[in-house]
């Protein structure tokens, strides 16, 4: 695997890096780069904070009519034994 050598390449790997989805040798290489690079460390902090903020978005609520019809589906299933 080609090693990421520039900041421009490293930032494209940070999402996978945070998720532990990089192959170990590539992850080690990114870690080494981050230790010596303030810019990429700041970029990583931005991404980490983005994930944390995204996690506070709670938008999923079921539509009441749909909920009622899905409960009816359940009752029909039970009734049909």
């Amino acid at each position: 695997m080609r090693r990421p050598t520039t900041c421009r390449e490293v930032v494209e790997l940070l999402s996978d890096y945070l998720d532990g989805a990089l192959p170990p040798s590539e992850a080690a290489h990114v870690r080494g780069h981050l230790e010596g690079c303030t810019g990429c460390e700041t970029a990583l902090a931005q991404l980490r904070e983005t994930i944390a903020r995204t996690g506070t978005v709670n938008e999923d609520a079921i539509d009441a009519d749909q909920r009622a019809s899905l409960l009816a589906v359940f009752r029909a299933h039970i009734a049909s034994g």
């Binding site: 700041t42 904070e49 983005t50 978005v57 899905l70 589906v73």
Partner: protein, 215 residues
């Protein structure tokens, strides 16, 4: 916290098999909004998407006795949904190109190229101007309703598959493996979609933080 996560599966499955309405409605409440969005990717109208969701729940109730637990329960439910949605979409004569769901920008750089030194520079590809340090942003902006609204708006503007991967991963806390199985994505596609979507949200937040920090 998602009560439909893998660790709770055994209990939920047992309760579903026993005909427990609360267990079923708990799952319905948690999963239906996302199921509706996913169904809508493949069919033409919201009304048809709702029928697909309903058919999927019928499939879940009819199939739960045969569920072998090779995936998480919610992954299995989404696979039922996606299969029904794709068939229904095909029957409608709607063929959905992957690029129209995933976005056509997946291979573009996720950071503004002008942030980096150009090929003429000895340090080509390194930062030309350092990224903005968010630690200096006032706390009331970080916790603001404005920021939440911005993140929601950014999610809504993403190509639907990017948005859904991001929602399942970073809002609902699914694993990447669950997501790619649920949405029928390759490992690589799931990772690229997530990377892309996260960076779109990051760029939106960055723009907002820069603006409020200048004020």
């Amino acid at each position: 916290v998602e009560p439909s996560g893998p660790s709770d599966d055994l209990e939920l499955i047992a309760r579903l098999r026993a005909g427990d309405a609360d267990a079923y409605m708990n799952l319905v409440d948690r999963l239906t909004p996302a199921m509706r969005r996913v169904a809508r990717m493949y069919v033409r109208t919201d009304a048809v998407a709702d029928e697909v969701v309903q058919d999927a729940w019928v499939g879940v109730l009819e199939g739960i006795d045969r569920f072998e637990g090779r995936s998480s329960l919610r992954t299995w439910i989404f696979r039922i949904l996606v299969n029904i949605a794709k068939k229904r979409g095909a029957r409608e004569g709607r063929s959905v190109a992957f690029a129209s769901l995933a976005g056509d920008d997946l291979d573009r750089p996720s950071w503004d190229p002008s942030s980096f030194l150009g090929p003429e520079d000895a340090w080509a590809g390194h930062w030309s101007s350092l990224p903005f340090d968010w630690r200096g942003v006032p706390e009331d902006r970080v916790e603001s309703r404005e920021l939440l609204a911005l993140i929601r708006a950014t999610l809504d503007a993403l190509p639907p598959m990017q948005a859904e991967v991001l929602r399942l991963r970073d809002v609902a806390g699914w694993s990447s493996e669950e997501i790619r199985n649920a949405l029928d994505l390759t490992d690589t596609n799931e990772r690229v979609l997530l990377h892309r979507a996260r960076n779109r949200v990051r760029a939106a937040i960055d723009g907002y933080y820069r603006t409020v920090s200048e004020a």
